[in-house]
């Protein structure tokens, strides 16, 4: 109780913002539990949501094969962007040598910056944070990304490069 009885005149929010440092730092068990319950509930719901999303992705029908470029249109060491299926985020097709084509999703697995091919070094480079991927496999070899790029499986038929499916990978 204060000397001149002003405790009663204190506004009600003073209890939440006490002047004394130890009181202000005090976390009551009830307050802590009030924080802990919604947070752990949110984590639990998040796990279920992740499972559901993975299941939905796995059960989605594979996109139909599509022709994306003529073999003669892409020079050796050249690259081009395409969408597969139509309306998807852009993907990148690279001709490594005479008979080898590779195609990946163009988004870096770190923070989704577009990756750029450096064919003479056999690398895909993300300029944002200097992430580097192997050109032939799409696996990360340097920088912040830890997951490989999603690969588009290809088939060369009748002088056309044909996309046949998308291989999403986590490791």
């Amino acid at each position: 109780m204060t000397p001149d009885d002003r405790e009663r005149a204190q506004p009600h929010w003073r209890r939440d913002f006490p002047i004394d440092w130890p009181e202000a730092q005090w976390v009551a068990r009830r307050e802590f539990v009030k924080f802990l319950m919604p947070v752990s509930l949110a984590f639990a719901v998040g796990q279920v949501w992740l499972l559901w999303r993975g299941w939905r992705r796995a059960s989605a029908p594979a996109p139909a094969p599509a022709r994306i470029a003529r073999v003669s249109d892409v020079p050796i060491g050249g690259a081009m962007l395409f969408e597969y299926p139509a309306g998807s985020p852009s993907r990148i097709l690279v001709r490594v040598d005479e008979s080898t084509f590779v195609a990946y999703e163009q988004q870096c697995t770190h923070l989704t910056c577009p990756v750029l091919p450096a064919v003479e070094r056999e690398e895909l480079i993300c300029p944002c944070h200097h992430g580097v991927f192997e050109l032939r496999t799409g696996r990360p070899i340097a920088g912040p990304p830890r997951r490989p790029l999603a690969r588009v499986t290809l088939e060369v038929r009748d002088g056309w490069v044909q996309a046949t499916g998308i291989e999403a990978r986590t490791v």
């Binding site: 204060t2 000397p3 001149d4 002003r6 002047i19 004394d20 440092w21 130890p22 202000a24």
Partner: protein, 216 residues
């Protein structure tokens, strides 16, 4: 580490010689960032040489913290009212205007209210505050109650102040004569008196400031 409770701060204005040593020493304290937190008040410069060093009284109910809209002024468990927390202080000057003792100072260069914190970096490790260390007449004294009673047999410490209807109890004590101690130091009492008697010498500073307008 908290400041030990048995060590108290005593102000004895009757011993103050106005040398400004405390004002200068205050800058040296690490927690004051090179700014002095003490001001030396002249009681009535035209009539007397009496000076009073103004340090924070560390009130039981700190008015500065009560009026703070940003919850920036905090008191630690040892009863020391600290300088405003830098991330919270909004430099609104409420505390500067509200403190009855006139202690908080707005450092406009930092947008931060800074005030005497009893040299918390020193007193919390067992040292004396800078001002009490340097005061040549021991008008500012830091020690135990027994010590001050032995050193000043004719004075006694008082911790109650009256500002109009507001009564304040403080952690820092003011020394008053032992033979006729007041119940509280009535700080604003002088303002409530009847008009000054006519035979009182006019304040030479004020007398030159105001010139009466000619009649008609």
């Amino acid at each position: 580490m908290p400041v030990p409770a048995h060590l108290e701060f005593f102000i004895d204005p009757s011993r103050c010689i106005g040398c400004q040593a405390c004002v200068q020493a205050c800058r040296e304290c690490d927690s004051h960032k090179g700014q002095t937190m003490i001001q030396l008040d002249y009681v009535d410069r035209s009539l007397s040489t009496q000076t009073v060093p103004v340090v924070c009284m560390h009130c039981d109910v700190p008015t500065c913290a009560e009026v703070c809209p940003a919850d920036a002024i905090k008191r630690t468990e040892d009863g020391i009212v600290q300088t405003a927390r830098k991330p919270r202080c909004i430099a609104c000057n409420n505390c500067v205007l509200a403190c009855p003792f006139g202690v908080p100072k707005m450092q406009t260069s930092m947008n931060l209210m800074m005030k005497c914190d009893l040299c918390y970096d020193r007193t919390s490790v067992g040292l004396m505050p800078m001002c009490a260390t340097v005061c040549p007449s021991q008008a500012l004294h830091y020690g135990t109650r027994e010590e001050i009673e032995r050193l000043r047999p004719r004075s006694m410490p008082i911790d109650t102040f009256q500002f109009g209807s507001q009564v304040i109890h403080t952690r820092v004590r003011m020394m008053v004569p032992r033979n006729d101690p007041p119940a509280a130091i009535d700080v604003t009492g002088a303002f409530d008196l009847a008009p000054a008697p006519q035979d009182m010498a006019p304040d030479p500073l004020l007398a030159n400031l105001y010139v009466e307008e000619p009649a008609g």
